[in-house]
């Protein structure tokens, strides 16, 4: 690491989070919304590991481990919900899920 500072990693983490947020906002496919959520969590992970490395503190890295665990559980439950929803509504697009809106 010659001239790469933690700020470089933080800016990258923010950009990853922003790209994921963009995906959550503009995509209509729930599968892609879930993938974009994963991307947002990855941005957070990069920031946490960068802070952990810069601060010489292992707590941040261990927190990343727990975030990965929770993300895996979240994805499995989310995809199961999605399959159940698809069996009921025959669609996985967000604009078809407007039962409350009407």
């Amino acid at each position: 690491m010659s001239s790469i500072t933690p700020h470089h990693f933080l800016i990258l983490a923010f950009l990853l989070f922003g790209v994921g947020f963009l995906g959550v906002v503009i995509r209509r496919n729930v599968l892609l919304v879930l993938m974009s959520l994963e991307l947002m969590l990855n941005g957070i992970n990069v920031a946490l590991v960068a802070f952990s490395r810069a601060g010489a503190n292992l707590d941040g890295s261990i927190f990343v481990f727990f975030i990965m665990t929770v993300a895996a559980a979240e994805v499995s439950v989310g995809l199961a919900l999605l399959v159940a929803l698809y069996k009921k509504r025959k669609s996985i697009f967000t604009e078809d899920m407007n039962l409350l809106g009407n």
Partner: protein, 199 residues
């Protein structure tokens, strides 16, 4: 610009480009494949940050298990490229995006005000100054030292496992229980939708 710098920029471009292509790709399968590229890029960044165990975990858990699950569901539901067009940006989503991007810019400016150049860690007598010349954040390190934290960053899996099993024993148990709960929940969800409604 030396080797690690080039590696950082290469993998940063890989992860960001993969993410952008994932968001804007038409077909869900190609989106999942771009997502794998992005995740591998993030894993390589973890390697650059000396977090080797997390990098392996990232490849195994995310690129291995989670994305395979995604691909499996995509093929199970037979999702085509239809509906890949972005939804109409309504006023509220536009406002939300604007506000969050503004907050992000403010945060970035606050963080990087005159801090982008490598800091010469001459004030604190950190022993590893020579090996991580630029990658030290003296303020955080002083705070860590002041709090008397015993968990020092180390690239070895041994230190990671020690921290996990000593200081973070209860969160580890809770995470295991969370995985069990997720497993039971998935089984119940998938059984109910086929059993009671008759397909």
């Amino acid at each position: 610009m030396s080797g690690p710098d080039l590696l950082f920029y290469f993998f940063a471009t890989l992860s960001l480009g993969g993410g952008l292509l994932m968001v804007f790709s038409r077909h869900p399968v190609s989106a999942a494949l771009f997502m794998i590229v992005s995740l591998v890029g993030v894993a390589s960044l973890f390697v650059l940050l000396d977090a080797f165990f997390l990098a392996i975990l990232q490849v195994l858990v995310y690129a291995g298990a989670v994305m395979v699950l995604f691909l499996f569901i995509i093929m199970l539901l037979d999702v085509g490229p239809g509906g890949a067009k972005a939804s109409r940006l309504k006023f509220l989503s536009g406002l939300a995006g604007l506000i969050s991007v503004g907050l992000l810019v403010v945060l970035l400016l606050d963080l990087s005000l005159g801090a982008m150049e490598p800091s010469d860690c001459s004030a604190d007598g950190c022993s590893d100054c020579s090996e991580t010349s630029a990658f030290a954040w003296p303020e955080i390190r002083e705070e860590t030292a002041a709090n008397g934290n015993s968990l020092v960053f180390s690239p070895s899996v041994k230190a990671f496992g020690f921290g996990l099993l000593a200081k973070y024993m209860l969160p580890l148990q809770v995470a295991g229980f969370l995985l069990l709960a997720a497993m039971v929940g998935v089984i119940i969800l998938s059984r109910k939708s086929t059993g009671e409604e008759g397909g």
